[in-house]
């Protein structure tokens, strides 16, 4: 979506720092006013760039002679598309530079990140409005909770009863089927109090995705998310250990779902010929993404730590054997194996999480999502 400068005709860009539309050529500033169009849909001309394959959505009757993304004059008219207008938009408050700095700062702190990644060259940074459904949900429940009080021999079970209700306003759920749910969930939370009525001028200079998951398809997920939040909050009202819900009778109702666009920066860089895309929440600046670890650093750290801890563990165990403090060697060996198993299990879980996160960052889906997001409003 592109708007043009009334003074020099160049494409305007929304400047989050000034909350204005700015012309990068002559520096003119324009208000991001509400669109006067009352319709629920709007027509956009979709242009395709034959050089980079990008699709560009342009509002109204204007035409474009160059691609806004690769700068090549290889853009041709593709089709007219009718798009549903979102009800709300959350304008970018984090600028492109701030997003890049936030990522650099995060990566610099990483001990196991190779220097090549820490000093990455930005291949492309794109501000994309992601479609979300905002659910209003009424949730009430009558809950019995159990917990424990005391310790050792005095530990005993206690029970609690709560009746409570909760009105969730604008609970966010990603409405794009193309962006991985894990990525969008990790981008959250957004402060929906800062939502503005949708105004097409906010899209200028940014990419906009359009929803392809209807709100009805997300009802179960919305209820489940509300349930998790409600249960966590109700457990907080109880002063005991190991609190669990033992009986409940929830009543929940989805009141409405509004369509909105929420901002995110997508930064892509290359490492060992592969593209990696890290996301930044366009409102809070939260950085989301996993990067590959330096295997030699991990191996050295593992061996040195292993040798040091093994040495002390050997001394302690040998001392226990010498002082005859181990009554049942078989049980002792079994206990050591159990503890070792727990250590290894936790380690595997952590590495697995990092692997999954890196797969998301390097996924072709995310990369192509960024490339394709010109289509939209």
């Amino acid at each position: 979506m592109i708007l043009y400068c009334a003074n020099c005709g160049k494409a305007l860009v929304y400047n989050p720092a000034k909350n204005k539309m700015e012309c990068p050529s002559c520096g003119s500033l324009f208000d991001a006013k509400r669109s006067p169009e009352p319709e629920d849909t709007m027509e956009c001309n979709i242009y395709t760039c034959t050089a980079c394959g990008a699709e560009l959505a342009i509002n109204g009757v204007e035409s474009s002679t160059f691609c806004a993304y690769c700068g090549q004059p290889t853009i041709i008219f593709s089709r007219v598309s009718s798009e549903i207008k979102p009800k709300y938009i959350l304008p970018f408050s984090v600028t492109k530079d701030q997003a890049v700095i936030a990522i650099r700062q995060k990566l610099k702190k990483g001990f196991f990140i190779s220097n090549e990644i820490k000093n990455f060259d930005v291949e492309r940074v794109r501000g994309i409005y992601i479609p979300y459904w905002l659910f209003d949900i009424h949730y009430e429940d009558k809950v019995y909770l159990s917990g424990t009080k005391g310790s050792g021999d005095n530990e005993h079970d206690v029970f609690f009863y709560r009746e409570a209700d909760c009105n969730f306003k604008q609970l966010t759920l990603d409405a794009s089927g193309k962006l991985a749910d894990e990525s969008s969930q990790r981008l959250e939370p957004y402060d929906t109090h800062a939502l503005q009525p949708f105004d097409i001028s906010y899209l200028s200079g940014f990419y906009a995705d359009r929803y392809d998951v209807p709100a009805e398809q997300l009802h179960t997920l919305a209820i489940s998310r509300a349930e998790n939040l409600f249960n966590a909050a109700i457990k907080d009202t109880v002063h005991a250990n190991n609190v669990t819900i033992v009986q409940n009778a929830p009543e929940r109702q989805i009141l409405k779902a509004d369509y909105a666009m929420l901002p995110a920066w997508f930064l892509t860089f290359r490492y060992q010929q592969k593209p990696y895309t890290i996301l930044v929440n366009g409102q809070t600046g939260k950085v989301v993404g996993g990067v590959p670890y330096n295997k030699s650093k991990v191996a050295v750290c593992f061996i040195l730590t292993g040798l040091a801890v093994s040495f002390f563990a050997f001394l302690i165990i040998y001392g226990l054997f010498l002082m005859d403090m181990i009554d049942s060697p078989g049980k002792f060996v079994f206990d050591v194996l159990i503890v070792t198993g727990i250590f290894v299990g936790i380690g595997i879980a952590k590495f697995h999480k990092v692997k999954k996160s890196v797969e998301l960052t390097e996924s072709k889906t995310t990369d192509s999502y960024v490339k394709d997001r010109q289509e939209g409003i």
Binding site: F111, F112, Y144, F159, A233, G289, F302
Partner: protein, 71 residues
């Protein structure tokens, strides 16, 4: 005895090292994992209307209710 302690010490030591390195790699290389929820920007949403502490086990209540029903 010494060899047994050596084997057990190595198992514990390298098991612990594996867990520690896993935790450190996660902290170093993976960002944005489940930090923050909807409630960060929407506190005080929960309205507790009935609050009773130290009540009976609900299973006992069910049992009493079933006895009353029999009568």
């Amino acid at each position: 005895m010494g060899f047994g302690a050596f084997i057990l010490g190595n198992l514990l030591g390298f098991g612990f090292a594996f867990m520690l390195v896993g935790i450190l790699v996660k902290r170093s290389n993976d960002h944005g994992d489940s930090k923050g929820t909807f409630l960060d920007f929407n506190s005080q949403l929960l309205h507790v209307t009935v609050k009773r502490d130290d009540v009976c086990d609900p299973k006992d209540l069910d049992y009493i209710a079933s006895l009353n029903n029999r009568k």
